[in-house]
């Protein structure tokens, strides 16, 4: 059994994203749109902004990750590529993981790269910046996994997008709590380790179980 097709799938997904250009960067623009609206909405006082910065960056990252979910499986579902996943000899959970990895590289990684800029816009204390990046590094893959599950579940419906965000939101509440808990603790000078540890535990749990649920959901939808 050759696993050479897995990197090929990753390369294809990334090539498609690059060729779509601006469309792939929409989540990032959206993230900054939210972050610009926040100081204008709640007032530009540095103390207030610094205290809500961890939560705001994370909420914006969460909303941005929702944007690209609609097209995670749908084009492949509509042109029949998805059925080939089951006809081929590759493990479907592996293909699912590759697809999620490309989703994370396109939506999660840019957020992490531009997070220092976002943190500066909201006056996040400097000592919390490292923890913010670490929490995004551990947390955004969970957003991709949970979002991928919601995308797979709503694949067979016509009005997916609203339902999708409703399904994602209760499942990512723990991620948001622990991630912002870690950053707030670091900003206040406490150790963020407990929160980061729990966040990493969530990542391990999601990484082991969610691909199975996604492939089961995809299978039901192409039946």
């Amino acid at each position: 059994m050759s696993l050479a097709a897995l990197p090929a799938l990753l390369a294809r997904d990334l090539r498609l994203a690059v060729r779509h250009g601006g469309e792939s960067l929409m989540p990032l623009f959206f993230l900054f749109a939210v972050l610009i609206l926040v100081p204008l909405g709640v007032g530009p006082g540095p103390n207030l902004l610094a205290s809500i910065a961890p939560g705001m960056v994370w909420v914006a990252a969460l909303l941005a990750s929702l944007l690209a979910l609609e097209n995670l499986f749908r084009p492949d579902f509509e042109d029949g590529t998805l059925e080939q996943w089951w006809l081929g000899h590759l493990p479907v959970t592996g293909l699912v993981l590759i697809r999620l990895l490309s989703h994370w590289l396109i939506t999660g990684l840019p957020v992490i790269i531009f997070a220092p800029l976002a943190a500066q816009m909201l006056y996040l204390p400097d000592q919390a910046l490292g923890v913010l990046l670490l929490s995004l590094l551990i947390g955004t893959p969970i957003l991709s996994l949970v979002g991928g599950l919601a995308a797979a579940l709503t694949l067979g419906t016509n009005r997916g997008s609203v339902l999708l965000s409703i399904l994602v939101f209760p499942l990512v509440v723990p991620v948001l709590i622990f991630a912002t808990g870690a950053v707030s603790a670091a900003a206040d000078g406490f150790s963020p380790r407990a929160h980061l540890g729990l966040l990493a535990a969530l990542l391990v749990l999601a990484l082991t179980l969610v691909p199975l649920a996604i492939s089961a959901a995809l299978r039901l939808n192409i039946e």
Binding site: L153, G156, T157, I166, V173, A217
Partner: protein
């Protein structure tokens, strides 16, 4: 011999016509039991149990709050078992029953949140607090609503039910979080005061109405589940032979 009868009976319930007969027979008894237990429970709760030494009479809302909270969680567990059976053995009746658990469970969660809020206003001085128990219960409500929304979004009912069953099993992770939330985080909601094993920190004189109301709520869940499943079954099968025959025998055409 008895085991075999039970097994055959269980398998027979998977057939829509048998389920229809069984549920029409059983659900009125469950409703009657619910009415009786509620009457006894409410009488005890309002007239027999002494007032609390700190909360005086306002603690009596506990007899609605706690049973519905338990049922909101127990209903989810029942729904998950039905969902697992539906996904593994593909029994259509359990798919329908799992889907019909969701609105009832959502209603109990909403009752729990509403009564908790009303109780919290005089006791904690706030309608709502972002406490671990309250937040995880709110998440449960949205998981229930998500399941209902996902099921409703599909044109093919069976496919919708099966996809929603996966969501049910994923959402199961929230149940232990709710249960242990008062132990893992020390926020506002009080810890466990009622234990099945070992001594409860609630006084025994306050227990009887709680037991009656808990039984009542369980019976009501069962009765509502059977009635809802029967109605859903009739709607889905309205063009099938057995429903037409049933309607004809009742003089409706």
């Amino acid at each position: 011999m008895i085991w075999k009868t039970i097994k055959v009976g269980f398998h027979r319930l998977g057939s829509p016509a048998s389920f229809y007969r069984f549920s029409t027979l059983v659900s009125p008894w469950l409703w009657a039991g619910f009415a009786l237990c509620t009457a006894i429970g409410i009488y005890y709760a309002l007239y027999v149990v002494p007032p609390d030494y700190q909360q005086s009479d306002s603690f009596r809302i506990l007899y609605v709050h706690v049973p519905s909270a338990w049922q909101a969680m127990a209903g989810y567990v029942v729904m998950s078992i039905l969902a697992a059976i539906a996904l593994i053995w593909r029994i259509r009746m359990t798919e329908i029953m799992a889907m019909m658990c969701a609105p009832i469970g959502a209603a109990f969660t909403a009752i729990c949140l509403a009564t908790g809020s009303i109780w919290g206003r005089p006791m904690w001085g706030t309608w709502w607090e972002w406490d671990a128990r309250l937040t995880s219960m709110l998440v449960l409500l949205f998981i229930y609503l998500g399941i209902m929304g996902l099921y409703a979004a599909f044109d093919d009912r069976r496919k919708g039910a099966r996809v929603a069953c996966i969501l049910i099993l994923v959402g199961l992770v929230n149940i232990p979080i709710i249960h242990f939330s008062v132990e893992w985080w020390t926020t506002l909601h009080q810890g466990k005061t009622i234990r099945i094993f070992g001594e409860s920190s609630m006084h025994y004189s306050m227990m009887p109405p709680l037991i009656w109301m808990t039984i009542a709520v369980k019976l009501m869940f069962g009765a509502a589940l059977l009635d809802r499943s029967r109605n859903e079954l009739l709607t889905q099968d309205r063009r099938k032979g057995w429903v037409q025959k049933k309607l004809k025998s009742q003089g409706v055409s």
